[in-house]
Amino acid sequence: MEPIVSIKNLNKTYKGGFQALKNINLDIYPGEIIALLGPNGAGKTTLISTICGIAQASSGSITVDGKDIQKDFRATRSLIGLVPQELTTDAFETPWVTVSFSRGLFGKAKDPAYIEKVLKDVSLWDKRDNMIRTLSGGMKRRLLIAKALSHEPRILFLDEPSAGVDVELRREMWQLVHKLRESGVTIILTTHYIEEAEEMADRIGVIADGELILVEDKKSLMQKLGKKQLLLELKQPLAVLPEALKEFEIELKDEGYTLVYTFDTQAERTGITTVLDALRQAQINFRDLSTTQSSLEDIFVRLVKKDDGESLVEKPS
């Protein structure tokens, strides 16, 4: 399949000389949802701004739907909708006016019925004639989404869509995003909520210090980097770990009531039977057992930070 967005050897150095993006290569495919994760200042917004035409690349190339974003900016930009990270709105306009304005700006003929649909989709229909400055933060965020959707884009960039949006509305927004994807829209979002990436994305990209350090299918990422843990609830608490179990990666928790065995799902042998055998031989009885899998959050923290808190990525000194 041809990528809908293709980024090759992209570098971005801001005027002050700060290099915010370092040799980014990324292909995004039609219809997928890709989540970009990364700490503050990693370069997520810069990457999005460069694709959308707000910032200029220092070197490298970007194509959208096979067309160069500079030479063919009219064609490429009309395919893209952008929801910026900052809540920038015209305080003295109404949602209706500003969303209609966006549609015209992106070269589409008037279509009041469509604007109505978009405003209803983001639950702002009853606020359509109120002044924007009287809307709450979460409503403004949704208004920006409506503006981005006003011209029926095929690619939607959501830069931290759920910052300042309450839990219920976040769920609604996720539903909206899924609905958009079903209609064929490609979605690129950045987020600090790992939960959000886990819930929505097909693929995860991790950016740190301007570098794209990883892009993976969410499922395989979680399998590959995910560790599983076997939890054994004991009948009698243990004061110390018996010698026989010391050769395994086992910890004692809950004041000795729980044994936690961590194993690698990708390894040839999980070692579970061996551990259980060892337990039986040491005559340790357990009441219950369960397994847990590490979340994307654990993976992310492990990727971006080493144990001592240092960044995994070498910083140029």
Binding site: Y14, K15, S49, C52, G53, I54, A55, Q56, F73, R74, A75, T76, R77, S78, I80, L82, P84, E86, T88, T89, D90, A91, F92, V97, S100, F101, S102, R103, G104, L105, F106, G107, K108, A109, K147
Partner: protein
């Protein structure tokens, strides 16, 4: 060309005026009326005629020019500066538009507003003085060309300005003095030779003079020079905008 975008920007800007009707229309009309009352009545009672024209009527073209220039500049400058200030410029930068659509939309709206205001002031003037406009088409041409040129000029200021002070500096410190010293309230023939010579370096003088010719068929300098000056200014502003367009000056990171 993305005509929908031009239309969207134009309408958006025009709508902004409707909302701020008091500030954008009523205020200039009151100011102009004050000029008529103060200058027309107070000074006019002493100077009954300038170049054979009643004093009240004599100052009409200059007053229209004053509003036209300041309104063109401030409308256009504010129109493009405001999105930069609030951050909504992101949308303009990510839209499938080039500087051409942006200029047509913002400058077109600013020029329209200034022009309408100029005509309103002309209408207001008829309450104070008797007016017979000898060359109405030439008058209209002057108003239109001036509105467009100075809206372009204002647009450039709005792009260049990165704070409110810069935004208001040029209209306040440059344009208003030039209009006052450009023969709005007097004929240059009333000045000493030295000041007459200085006045010739004031571009606004030619605009006021040209507009006055269209009203009364007489002026300080030939109307052709006035037309030449306004066309030159228009070309210069178009050139500057084209240059901004090329360099993306001050807009894209």
């Amino acid at each position: 060309m993305n005509l929908h975008a031009v239309n969207a920007i134009y309408r958006f800007e025009m709508a902004r005026t409707r909302r701020t009707l008091l500030q954008s229309v009523v205020a200039p009309v009151i100011t102009t009326s004050l000029y008529f009352v103060v200058f027309g009545a107070a000074i006019g009672s002493r100077i009954s005629q300038v170049d054979g024209i009643g004093y009240g009527a004599f100052i009409v073209p200059g007053l229209i020019m004053l509003s036209l220039l300041t309104q063109s500049i401030s409308n256009a400058a504010f129109g493009i500066y405001f999105p930069k200030f609030t951050g909504t410029i992101y949308e303009l930068l990510s839209a499938p538009v080039s500087m051409i659509e942006v200029v047509l939309g913002y400058v077109g709206a600013a020029a329209t507003k200034a022009l309408v205001l100029g005509l309103i002031i002309l209408g207001t003037a008829t309450f104070f003085v008797d007016l017979h406009i000898q060359h109405p088409l030439v008058m209209l041409m002057f108003l239109v060309l001036t509105a467009i040129s100075f809206s372009l000029f204002g647009f450039i200021i709005g792009i260049w300005a990165d704070n409110f002070e810069k935004l208001q500096m040029i209209p306040l410190l440059v344009v208003t003095p030039l209009v006052f010293l450009g023969g709005t309230f007097y004929s240059v023939s009333m000045l000493s030779p030295v000041w007459q010579a200085v006045t010739l370096f004031n571009p606004v003088f030619y605009l006021v003079s040209g507009l006055r010719w269209s009203f009364y068929g007489q002026s300080d300098v030939s109307v052709w020079i006035s037309i030449g000056i306004i066309l030159f200014f228009l070309t210069a502003c178009l050139g500057a905008v084209a240059w901004i367009f090329k360099t993306g000056y001050h807009l894209r990171n």
